[in-house]
Amino acid sequence: MKLVFSIFEKLIPLSLSGGMDSNFSNRNYRRLNAILVAIMLATAIVPMLMAAGLGFKSYNELFRDTERAEVQWQLDGSIKSMEYLLHTLESIVLFVARDDRYEELNQGSSLEELFFRLQRQYGYFSDLGVIDENGIQQNYYGPYDLEGIDYSEEEWFKEVLDRGVYISKVYTGYREIPHFAMAVSKVEPKTRKRWVLRSTIEAGKLQKFVNTIKNSAEDDFFLIDNEGKLQTSSQRYGEPLSHFLSDVEPGVHRIVSENGESVFRAVGAISHTPWSLVIINPNYIHGSEWKTFRARLLAIVLFCIVTSIFVVVLLVNAMTRRLQMADELQITMLKEAEQTEKLASIGRLAAGVGHEINNPLAIIDQRTGLMEDLLHLSGDFTHKDAMQEGLAGISRSVERCKVITHRLLGFARRNPVTAENLQINQVIAEVLQFLDSEMLYNKIRLNLKLSNDLPVVVSDRTQLQQVFLNIIKNAIDAIDREGTITISSNCLAGDIRVVIEDDGPGIPEEIIKHIFEPFYTTKETGKGTGLGLSITFGLLKKLGGDITVRSKVGVGTAFTITIPPECYVHDQ
């Protein structure tokens, strides 16, 4: 199991499994997408292909085995039929050559009469000959003058004496018509001498037999002799006596024919004859049933592949998009949290410093004051004025420090939030009363776009007043003289949003980044402490709200304050 996991981890890129922090912004989504698509396609398609392949192979084997059995069965049946038919032919000749007929057939016209009777009855006998035990043809009826020929040295003659029946291969002979010979040997009962009746039969009879048992037009069905010469005509290999194949193994074999077709070749010997029956059977592969199966299988496989690709690509794309969105959201949140945390820790530090400096500052204040008092009481002496001036300078500096330390201590203030029902518009109006005269003096026009149907919020009035006061005062300071401040309020998803815009000089981007940090000020020394916005930020965070700023140099600045419907204590 561990191994499986480790392999999986190697497969899955770091971009998928890696951790997240705010600096981590470049997951390779394209690569991730490609890998996911590949993995999912592989898991979908490979088993399907394996199943299809297995099905294909099994069905193929089934077809082949069935067909082989069928061909074998056909071959066996056909050989039996051929044997039966040839046996019938044999019987005719055997019947004609009765044992005691030797003398009779050698006398007068009885052989001629027999030939004509046979010819009338069967039609395919070409000649008849009677041969004595020494192999001399005693009597002959047929188109040639073959009487007196000595057959004693011929192989067939020895064989017919041995076995009683002999069937020759097909040959052309003198007549240029393919035929074969059939001979039977008999024993004359009186003289105990053996004799042979030999007849020649047209090869057309064999063709007829073959045609009789051939049961499919598609199959090639023919006889060959033991040397591989065609004995009947073949669709593929031509006319009788043309060469077929030497050395044809008996049995059923799959071969590839001359024209590239895959076929079954079934070969079986016909007993007591020089012949073998050959069936050439076109393979099932060319059969419609198999072709249909293959086409359907291919169609199904293709359909599955196309569908899988379509589904997987769509799905993975959607997934990666989701992941990307989630990552982006997480990064934004992490960055925001980092910013808040940073500001909070700077705030705590500032408050601590303020607290530590405040007491010594109070002592400096008192000591300076006492010295001023004493100087005031004592009479004139050299440098008295200079000393008084110096002490006044110290007092002024103490005053400046005091403003800073008091504001710093504001960070540490743990004012409990006193929540009450508030109309934000009303809070804004209260704050504006304070600033009326200042705005009038600076010739600043106020543009109020307050929504009339804002819901009542539960929050701290004093602290919200402080927030609005800080931001609006900031806007007044930014404009300096002559300009417009626009204050708009609306309700968005339950939260109230107040936007305070000014058409002042705007804030450059590098300043915007630090704008909520304590002591960050662009005002001239002594005019601002750089604490207003960071205190505002802290107050809003404490009330569960938020403040964001956007600005464009030369156009103006807009602060957006978000206040939740109900504040929650968010103390640090």
Binding site: N358, N359, Q366, K402, L409
Partner: protein
């Protein structure tokens, strides 16, 4: 009470920061107040009980006894004694608590001396005024 006694306001300054307390007491005396200094909470309580005082200036953060504690205890025997809280401790809610315990006002260090003297006079007048009314 004699007239002179009425004119001179007797102040107790309770603060553990010795340098601050002594300097401030000298300056207050220069301005015509009669100032006693206590450098701890217990000392402050002791002096409040043993001396005749008009106004108490109380620091909130003292090592032995917290200013609020002192305020709560002195209220037992001196319910009307005006107390001004003077602290560098930035605890606004502590000041608020002090106000609830009946402090007269709340001033943050470093305080403007004019503001402080004004508050002392105001506190003294408010209390003695109400006493005078009740006396009639």
């Amino acid at each position: 009470m004699t007239n002179e006694m009425k004119d001179t306001i007797r102040v107790l300054l309770a603060d553990d920061e010795i340098e601050f307390a002594t300097t401030l007491s000298i300056r207050l005396n220069l301005r015509g107040f009669e100032t006693t200094v206590a450098y701890s909470g217990h000392e402050a309580l002791e002096k409040i009980d043993s001396k005749d005082l008009d106004v108490v200036i109380l620091d909130l953060k003292m090592p032995d006894l917290d200013g609020l504690e002192v305020l709560a205890r002195l209220r037992v025997n001196h319910p009307k004694l005006p107390v001004i809280i003077l602290t560098g401790h930035g605890a606004f809610e502590a000041g608020k608590e002090g106000m609830e315990l009946g402090a007269f006002d709340y001033i943050m260090k470093p305080a403007d001396l004019n503001l402080l003297t004004a508050k002392i006079e105001e506190a003294h007048e408010t209390v003695s005024g109400s006493e005078a009314k009740r006396g009639r």
